[in-house]
Subunit: 273 residues, 2 copies
């Protein structure tokens, strides 16, 4: 039997924890081998509750993707959809899903050829990572003067590596903000998050007063254009009746009338004023 990878009651010992102990004394437990860093060492010391399995960056990204793609109705997500979203080949997705589904307890429930959905544990972990992401974006923007088109990439990486302690400090420093710089709701520490019934601006009825609730944070160039044109969360607007072809005419409060491409309008979410 090679390898003693698990500490007393099922807790995974991250390599880093040992390494930074600088010379693991005597016959200490050796962490599981392998290249991937296991995130979020949780020891809970005496309180031996099962807790969640440790995750890696890759696993975190799968969980987030499943959460996003399953939508509010919590549909099953297909391998192909995941592959597309993650920029990974479908065959690789299958491999990961099988491995995750085989874990106990598991983050996901997976049926061959019929997609995957998150267990409560999986949802919880996904929300935690999303909380990290949005808090980081808010922090980078408000405290470190990142512009709103720069925060996403940095947060996308760091979200997997900050400790719960740092998460708490950031939240405290910011006064427990509700939304990130793009208007996305920051989940509570316990994983809860309010849901808003948002509509894509491209599909919003003409003539009905709207307020921008959030915008997609994925494309920096689009974000810069939005900022330049006053399309920020909280901005009021009305879509001019008639025009709904390649672009739509929009009246943005405090700005001159403008025409938005479908492209841009599809990256903006609104709610009733």
């Amino acid at each position: 039997m090679a390898m003693l990878s698990v500490a007393p009651a099922g807790y995974v010992v991250s390599r880093h924890a040992l390494a930074s102990a600088n010379k693991c004394h005597s016959g200490a437990f050796r962490p599981t081998a392998g290249a991937a860093r296991i995130l979020h060492l949780r020891l809970d010391s005496v309180t031996a509750k099962p807790s969640e399995p440790a995750t890696t960056e890759a696993v975190d990204d799968y969980l987030k993707a499943i959460l996003e793609l399953s939508g509010p109705e919590e549909n099953r997500v297909t391998s192909n959809a995941l592959a597309g979203h993650l920029g990974i080949r479908p065959a690789s997705v299958t491999g990961m899903l099988q491995k995750l589904a085989g874990q106990r307890p598991s983050f996901i429930r997976y049926k061959k050829h019929h997609g995957v959905f998150l267990t409560d544990t999986g949802k919880h972990r996904a929300m935690e990572v999303i909380r990290h992401h949005r808090l980081l974006e808010r922090f980078l923007h408000d405290v470190l003067d990142f512009s709103w088109d720069e925060v996403h990439d940095e947060a996308e990486r760091l979200e997997h590596y900050i400790s719960e302690h740092l998460e708490d400090r950031i939240a405290a420093k910011l006064g427990d903000p509700d939304v990130d710089p793009h208007g996305h709701i920051i989940p509570e520490k316990n994983g809860a998050a309010a849901v808003r019934a948002e509509t894509v601006l491209a599909k919003w009825p003409c003539g009905v007063p709207a307020v921008i609730s959030s915008v997609s944070d994925k494309d920096p160039a689009a974000l810069r254009e939005m900022k330049r044109r006053g399309l920020l969360p909280g901005a009021s607007l009305i879509v001019e009746p008639g025009t709904r072809s390649a672009s739509l005419a929009v009246r943005i409060s405090g700005n001159p009338p403008a025409r938005l491409s479908q492209e841009l309008a599809s990256r903006i979410l609104v709610v009733h004023r």
Copy 2:
């Protein structure tokens, strides 16, 4: 021929960069497979200068360890020493050294059975990571109210994952500090760092006035004790003549006379007052 892992002129494309592009369009380059995240995507776009090879967290840690263990005289470092410092088996170290030494350009120079030392490129990268570490410690301490015994572990992880942009922002926010919370000198952006001739307090001559220049940041409990007893960088002290057994008697300015264990005294570095 399987795998297209390298972009046009030898630049490594990190998986994350593609993934966050959210669906890599058409026949885009696919990143090299594997679990380890490659840090610090540098594209330099048109300016096709060779630059440094991309690193992983593991490689960064090896480079830092080699730098630390080789000391100011830049001695060769043995596999065993590295293994001990990194909490890794010697056989694993050999494997890594051989791989690194085989790269072009290489971070290290390695001769079988005769240890390893850093090339200029390796030194440069190690200094960069150390700059990240110390800036992060200063930032966590000053801006996010971490105590000085909490900063090390968090910085040890994040040092590998912050971008150059975030590094710059942190430095700017702090006003380009010279030292971290433990008194360690923060290298310049270009990799340069002043060297101080420090002496371990345990070996400092009795009766000679000294100032604490820095303390080891590895052991949180020791740090808490130091703080409690006024043993902070900048504090003046004199070792009482005579006593130099298991503990030594010390007069710390502004504090009552105290006895320090050799253990603690070995974690404190001093310079002439």
